[in-house]
């Protein structure tokens, strides 16, 4: 009995049914039963959760029976064929070239455009499904308490159900188009939920912002999909076992819609990510595909250039922030890149870019988070930062990197959801006030929230027994190893490109199969890349410290210090009801335990799994190793026996402790931050800088010295002195202080989010608006005229044609007769 097919269907179906039922029934028929949407949603999510766990068990069961010959396990359930356009695309045959990268020229011929509605079950999907359904169940329970009394109660649950449906479909989609469709669907749900209180202007504009910024990413994603299709001729992830028989039809099933394709089925394998010869086309096209996919991932996962929407997305209800904007949807980008590992492995430059984006975003967001006063915003930047960690891990490009990224995704979901729900609890109690300066010392008021929030903070900061520690350590270790491997590898990096490119072997059928090896470096050398990774490693360590600092800053400001409760709380600030605290407790338990429960690398020797592959020491990592895109190909070659990086762990833990200590120093008792900042702005340092002593010190600087010496040599000392002094005065006295104090002081920079919104406003929005104005003018006077003229063609033609319909029957008959005769004449005269 194979239960994978039904399970895969049940998981998205339950939330979908819930969403439809709520939308149809709740507003009219069941108006009286307020709780109905919540109960229905929780029940549906519960069903999905149970199905996901059963699916996990099924997949694990199959893993135990994976033979040595086929180290991967996947199961594709094709529900039906959605699009089936015959001969939709005519592929030109690739010309034979000397370029060794053109390993497998694609055969010319017509391509069918076939999109199956197909769901897949493999390790990656199962992991994501469990995570998504688990978090969403808890969030739904929490939301029942949190949204109590809201006018849009049913709407909230309808949206959330729709979101969970879309998200489960997204992670279980089996081709890029389906992925894209639900990628958009979760974006839509996110938009709807950010603007949930659409009457509030900031919420509405935040929704718009999220939508627009995501469009940029989706644009890149879509372009990537187009490129994938023209390159590979399919959008399937992996080799589905669809045999395209000669008569084209016998294989296609019509009536038995629920067709389970066995994993080992033979046939023409033409998936993008499959280990098939033609799939590994890399080089420039591969790099372009990867970068375009990265753009998409950046949009959805709020990475550096496109990270600006996520903090604003906190305008939505807090459970939504926990579910969508912390735990699930924003990890879709991570999931997608992990899913596309074979593509990224084939172009290591793209990996470096991914890592750079991740590392930079992590640091940047952490810096911004240091000074925010909005509790949810701190957490939002923290999310951006942690997502950056995950990108960094994926960018490491090794097996350990990808699995550690997924590991961090998994653990992060728990503790970040916990933190958000905790902040929601605080908000609930504080009467929707979220500014940390307006409340404080709540540890007595809300004890459960306090303790669970503490656990979440410890996990986020990455202190040893908690979940975040293990995954963050795995990431740091992976980046560290990658840097070392690259700097060591350049010796092995042979001058002949081919050796690095891949090994050829003839398989049984005699066809040439390329076993891809290490990807090709063309833009820069591995040692340069090693340097990059080294820097990223340092940045990640620094980020770890900053993470601890801002996390505990928020924690101390909220729960410690003088007790302060805003008037909006209405004087009865109290702990949230059980329906809200229970999810907190469950998540806290997870945040404590999930790390050491899954990661055994510290205690076990490198062992071997069935099939003779090295165990990474991480249960999740080993599990993910069965996913087809991680099980073979180049990524499998980087698989090494897992070891625990005690040195890295120690360093990061110490840094985190330092951060916590600094936060305690600044915020534990009284809030010194404000004093420091005001002192900073009180120009003490500036006055000190302007006194004679410091000017003399400046003059002794070597550069100044050098200028002086050059001037002396040219006998222009007098001039140099005058000019130099003048410049010094201008620079130091006027410009720099002004800039530093007003705009570029580190504090202001951080607090104003490094002016990204303003930069975008000035570099993108306003120029675009100017261009738009220009275009509008141009449009109105030039294009519009032309277009109107073109647009008038149908109208004019229509009027002309319409004037034939005069309503007179004989005229119609004459037209028909003459039409016939023209046809006859045309055929008899021209034809003969």
């Amino acid at each position: 009995m194979d239960r994978i097919g039904p399970l895969l269907v049940v998981i998205p179906a339950a939330p979908l049914i819930s969403a439809v039922a709520i939308a149809l029934l709740a507003p009219r028929l069941l108006r009286g039963i307020r709780e109905f949407p919540a109960f229905l949603t929780i029940a549906a999510f519960g069903v999905s959760l149970i199905a996901s766990l059963l699916l996990l068990r099924e997949v694990t069961y199959h893993h135990d029976h994976v033979g040595p010959g086929s180290p991967s396990f996947e199961r594709v359930v094709r529900l039906w064929t959605w699009a089936d356009a015959r001969d939709a695309y005519w592929q030109r045959p690739a010309l034979p070239s000397d370029d060794p990268r053109a390993e497998s020229p694609i055969e010319g011929g017509s391509r069918d455009f076939t999109i199956d509605i197909a769901l897949r079950a493999d390790a990656l999907t199962a992991t994501m499904l469990v995570m998504v359904t688990f978090i969403s169940t808890l969030v739904a329970v929490f939301g029942m308490g949190y949204m109590q009394g809201d006018r849009g109660f049913w709407r909230f649950f309808a949206y959330v159900s729709l979101f969970v449906f879309s998200m489960t479909m997204l992670v279980s989609a089996s081709n890029f188009l389906l992925l894209f469709v639900f990628w958009e669907a979760v974006g839509l749900c996110s938009y709807l939920l950010i603007g949930f209180w659409y009457g509030k202007p900031s919420a509405a504009s935040a929704g718009k912002k999220a939508f627009l910024v995501n469009r940029v990413g989706d644009f890149g994603f879509a372009l990537g999909l187009f490129l994938i299709w023209t390159t590979y001729g399919t959008l399937d992830f992996h080799s589905s076992a669809r045999v395209r028989s000669d008569d084209g039809g016998s294989e296609r099933r019509i009536l038995d819609s629920l067709t389970t394709v066995p994993a080992g089925a033979t046939g023409v394998a033409w998936g993008v990510l499959s280990r098939d010869a033609e799939s590994y086309r890399h080089g420039a096209i591969g790099l372009a595909i990867c970068l375009l996919l990265l753009v998409g991932a950046c949009g959805k996962s709020a990475q550096f250039p496109l990270h600006v929407w996520l903090p604003d997305a906190m305008e939505g209800p807090t459970p939504v922030s926990a579910l969508i904007h912390a735990a699930t949807m924003v990890t879709a980008g991570i999931y997608m890149i992990a899913r596309c590992t074979p593509l990224f492995t084939a172009s290591p430059e793209a990996q470096v870019v991914v890592a750079c984006v991740g590392g930079f975003t992590a640091l940047l967001a952490a810096l911004i988070a240091l000074t925010q006063f909005d509790l949810k915003r701190v957490l939002a930047y923290s999310t951006v930062s942690q997502l950056g960690y995950m990108f960094l891990a994926l960018g490491a490009g090794t097996f350990a990197g990808v699995t550690s990224g997924m590991f961090h995704l998994f653990t992060h979901a728990f503790f970040k959801a916990l933190l958000f729900l905790g902040s929601g609890s605080v908000m609930h109690a504080m009467g929707n006030v979220i500014d940390m300066r307006r409340f404080g010392g709540l540890r007595k008021v809300m004890p459960i929230t306090h303790w669970t929030f503490l656990i979440g903070c410890l996990a986020l900061a990455g202190l040893p027994p908690f979940a975040g520690f293990w995954s963050k350590d795995a990431i740091l270790g992976a980046v560290h190893d990658r840097a070392h491997a690259l700097s060591g590898a350049h010796a092995a990096h042979d001058a002949t490109n081919l050796a690095a490119h891949g090994r050829e072997r003839a398989d049984d059928g005699g066809t040439r199969v390329v076993e891809p090896g290490e990807g090709v470096w063309t833009l820069w050398t591995p040692e340069q890349a090693a340097g990059v990774y080294q820097w990223l490693y340092c940045a990640a360590l620094l980020t770890a410290g900053l993470t601890a600092l801002y996390t505990f800053r928020a924690f101390f400001m909220t729960f410690y210090g003088a007790r302060q409760i805003p008037p909006e709380a209405g004087g009865h600030a109290h702990e949230s009801p059980a329906v809200m605290t229970a999810p907190l407790v469950v998540l806290a338990v997870c945040a404590v335990s999930v790390g050491w429960f899954l990661d055994h690398s510290y205690q076990s020797d490198p062992s071997y799994l069935p099939g003779g592959r090295a165990s990474s020491g991480n249960v999740l990592g080993d599990f993910l190793g069965y996913a087809p895109q991680l099980a073979g190909g180049a990524i499998a070659a980087t698989r090494t026996p897992g070891r625990f990086h005690f040195d890295v762990a120690a360093i990061s833990a110490l840094i985190a402790l330092g951060g916590i200590a600094f936060a305690a120093f600044l915020y534990l008792e009284d809030r010194r931050e404000a004093d420091m900042a005001s002192a900073f702005l009180r120009f003490h340092w500036y006055r000190r800088m302007l006194d004679a002593d410091s000017i003399a010190r400046i003059r002794r600087w070597k550069s100044v010295d050098a200028v002086n010496r050059w001037a002396d040599r040219l006998r222009l000392g007098w001039l140099a002195r005058i000019v130099g002094r003048g410049v010094l005065v201008v620079v130091w006295v006027v410009t720099v202080p002004l800039i530093l104090t007003q705009f570029a002081s580190p504090y202001r920079l951080s607090q104003d989010k490094f002016y990204f919104d303003e930069i975008y406003d000035w570099t993108m929005v306003r120029p675009l608006r100017w261009i738009a104005d220009l275009c509008a003018a141009l449009d109105r006077w030039v294009i519009d005229g032309t277009v109107n003229m073109v647009g008038r063609i149908p109208v004019v033609t229509g009027n002309l044609m319409r004037s034939l319909h005069i309503g007179l029957l004989p005229f119609y008959a004459v037209s028909m007769a003459l039409g016939v005769l023209v046809l006859v004449l045309a055929r008899t005269l021209w034809g003969s």
Binding site: R802, I806, G807, L808, L809, P810, A817
Partner: protein
């Protein structure tokens, strides 16, 4: 007449009948006459078919003519009922009467060059009442009546 000549002649005849019917259909305005002309077109088809049937020594053409006659009868049944209904609604058989449905903005075509209608004094014959013997005084102007009949 050899076969080919026979065929050509009949095809020409069929074409002429079809064409005359077509012309009548196109230029006549009386609905019934238009319908008659359509039947005439079918006659042209029938002549052609019979000629081909003879030329090909094949029965199918003649069978087809039978079907054409049957269908023509069907069309006549429905069509004449329809024409009657139209007449009852409009009190005219003029096809140009029916041009209410047309493209918005188009004007109604009016008749051009309508010839003077001859309004001649007509005296219609009257039949003698049947059944009873007419009395002398019942029909005062018997003479004129008889003269006019």
């Amino acid at each position: 007449m050899n076969e080919r000549e026979l065929l050509d002649g009949y095809l020409l005849l069929g074409g002429l009948l079809f064409a005359i019917g077509l012309v009548g259909f196109l230029v006549r305005r009386n609905l019934i006459v238009m319908f008659l002309c359509a039947e005439m077109m079918l006659q042209g088809v029938a002549v052609s078919l019979v000629a081909w049937s003879r030329f090909r020594h094949n029965w199918d053409g003649q069978s087809m003519v039978l079907f054409i006659i049957a269908i023509a009868a069907c069309e006549a049944a429905v069509g004449l009922a329809l024409i009657l209904a139209l007449f009852q609604r409009s009190r005219t058989l003029d096809v140009a009467y029916w041009q209410d449905l047309r493209e918005p903005g188009q004007s109604r075509r009016v008749d051009r060059g309508v010839p003077e209608e001859r309004r001649e004094e007509r005296i219609w014959p009257r039949l003698t009442p049947a059944g009873v013997m007419p009395r002398e005084d019942q029909d005062k102007n018997k003479e004129t009546h008889r003269a006019r009949v």
